[in-house]
Symmetry: C2
Subunit: 326 residues, 2 copies
């Protein structure tokens, strides 16, 4: 494989600084889903931890480096999960954490960031506005700016999921990965290509937030003017060029799915797997629902990447979509 920015050796080293609570997460077949999807389905469950998403794998790496030798203060922009994870990892190491988020972010995520003791600044605008503001704070205050997907710690932390998948890669042939900024996809994709190259790496993004998928298909950065999706965790507009370069090396495909399919996926995971997930975590199931023929007979792993969802919104979405229709 032509080289990504990531290093398999550094990914293995990352495992040693991540709290074991976030590692070796459940990976198991969900046979009750399969009659509805027409393929074998396993879930890699990244929600059974104190921050209810995979993001702490990356923030544990960042925070441990900062605690050892860096500045004691760090700021990030976040749709909510990165901020929550950074707040958790920073609190345990005495770091001063600031999170910038859109004031339209999921309330449950913002509440948890505050509860974990981080400073939370809300901006009018979307996630890209929050990114600009976080960069400005870092410049003004001379503190570390953590940039999701650009900073290698976030990719290599997420990539530790790939190490765990590679251990059992003989049993499946496809991995479906939610595509947002790209840390999860480039991280897991890098490890799959390095250690389990027969596994197909398919990224999934909402039709309403397609910038990185369009970029992947056209092989250069494509931006969009707005996003329109309930999948708040993956709703970016400005792909990072270096991340796109990595994604071009490790992804076998990138597909877009409709909102109705995301909701149907959420309901299916609830009704047949007993899992509450946030919209981003249902993207993989949505991709199967939209192209059953493509996945027929395969054994697919989908990474259930987060469960931070407003309970009322979840109930409202679930109430609108029968489980067996996309």
């Amino acid at each position: 494989m032509q080289g990504t920015r990531l290093s398999t050796a550094r990914i293995r080293a990352a495992r040693r600084v991540i709290d074991p609570m976030f590692l070796d997460t459940p990976l198991y077949r969900c046979e009750a889903l399969e009659p509805h999807l027409g393929c074998e389905v396993s879930v890699k469950l990244e929600t059974a931890n104190p921050v209810r998403s995979f993001k702490a794998r990356g923030t544990e790496v960042v925070a441990s480096l900062l605690a050892d030798e860096g500045p004691r203060a760090v700021v990030c922009a976040s749709a909510g999960n990165l901020g929550q994870a950074l707040a958790w990892s920073g609190r345990g190491r005495g770091l001063d954490v600031t999170v910038v988020a859109s004031r339209f972010a999921t309330a449950a995520k913002l509440d948890r960031i505050r509860a974990l003791g981080a400073r939370l600044e809300l901006v009018d605008g979307d996630h890209e506005t929050a990114r600009e503001r976080a960069a400005a704070i870092a410049r003004q205050d001379g503190i570390r700016l953590l940039e999701d997907s650009l900073d290698l710690e976030t990719c290599e932390g997420a990539a530790t999921i790939g190490l765990e998948l590679a251990d059992t890669a003989a049993s499946f042939d496809t991995v479906l990965i939610a595509l947002g900024g790209g840390a999860l996809a480039t991280g897991v994709g890098h490890v799959m290509k390095a250690l389990a190259p027969s596994v197909q790496v398919i990224c999934v993004q909402p039709l309403g937030a397609p910038a990185l998928t369009h970029s992947w298909h056209s092989r250069h950065v494509v931006t969009t003017d707005s996003t329109d999706t309930i999948a708040d965790g993956v709703a970016g507009r400005y792909p990072v060029p270096a991340v796109l370069d990595d994604l071009l090396l490790v992804a076998d495909d990138a597909v877009l799915v409709r909102e109705a399919s995301i909701i149907a996926g959420m309901r299916m995971l609830l009704d047949h797997a007993g899992l509450v997930v946030e919209p981003s975590a249902a993207l993989g199931i949505a991709a199967i629902l939209e192209d059953r023929d493509r996945f027929a007979g395969r054994h697919v792993v989908t990474i259930v990447c987060g469960s931070n969802v407003d309970p009322e919104a979840h109930r409202r979405w679930i109430g609108t979509a029968p489980a067996d229709r996309a």
Copy 2:
């Protein structure tokens, strides 16, 4: 400690025959629950596996013994979780599994037992009727009868949860355990008393199915004529004397909780921890809700023992109880 029927050495040996998929389950703080409960709360999550309950820990032990040297056919009575687990463990080892259940059992559980290839026989009556019928089948057909909580494999399989808890026992002071037949409580209780004796072992049963709790308090077997609870997984009427003897040695207390508290606990786990659980798995939270003063300032571990619930019933229950009222 005076001797129970269980052996810590055999419990350690059990770990070696249980599919690792069922071991080393997530154990983590749920800080978002804590403002509502007034104590530190961690969950030991036994639902992120192919059968969505802890029961496979025991059936893996049974099935591996049978596959090695026993009869190739086995029958059990089950409210649904044991049967599902035995079907799963037996299928992988080529065993012939029969499950007897009440025709009023949770539909989702019965569906999964059938889907896993077991023979399912339904009886008119409750779980005690199913136990009688399973014993009759075993006698007639000369096959192995698996009796939950009486057979040591079920207790020692469940007890492997205790080994995992004991590894971090310095961080908590109380474990809350759903009390049904008693396998989980005597198993985990045995290990706590052996390896972490400072941890308080508190069993929790519904007021509507109090037989074993009444037996524990009166120190002799007390039966009831009926049960009336949504917590189907723990709704027995005839405690097993040998199990009561063990429970008297390892439990520090046994408490009863109201149905409204069980529902409030289920909703709290959904809204603040993102967990869908069956009623039995909310008994621990219900116990805290009913006696906040007792648990104030403590660090409590509650074992979330199963998530096999009919989705519609779950939605109906959740819809009836605000999260913050018991």
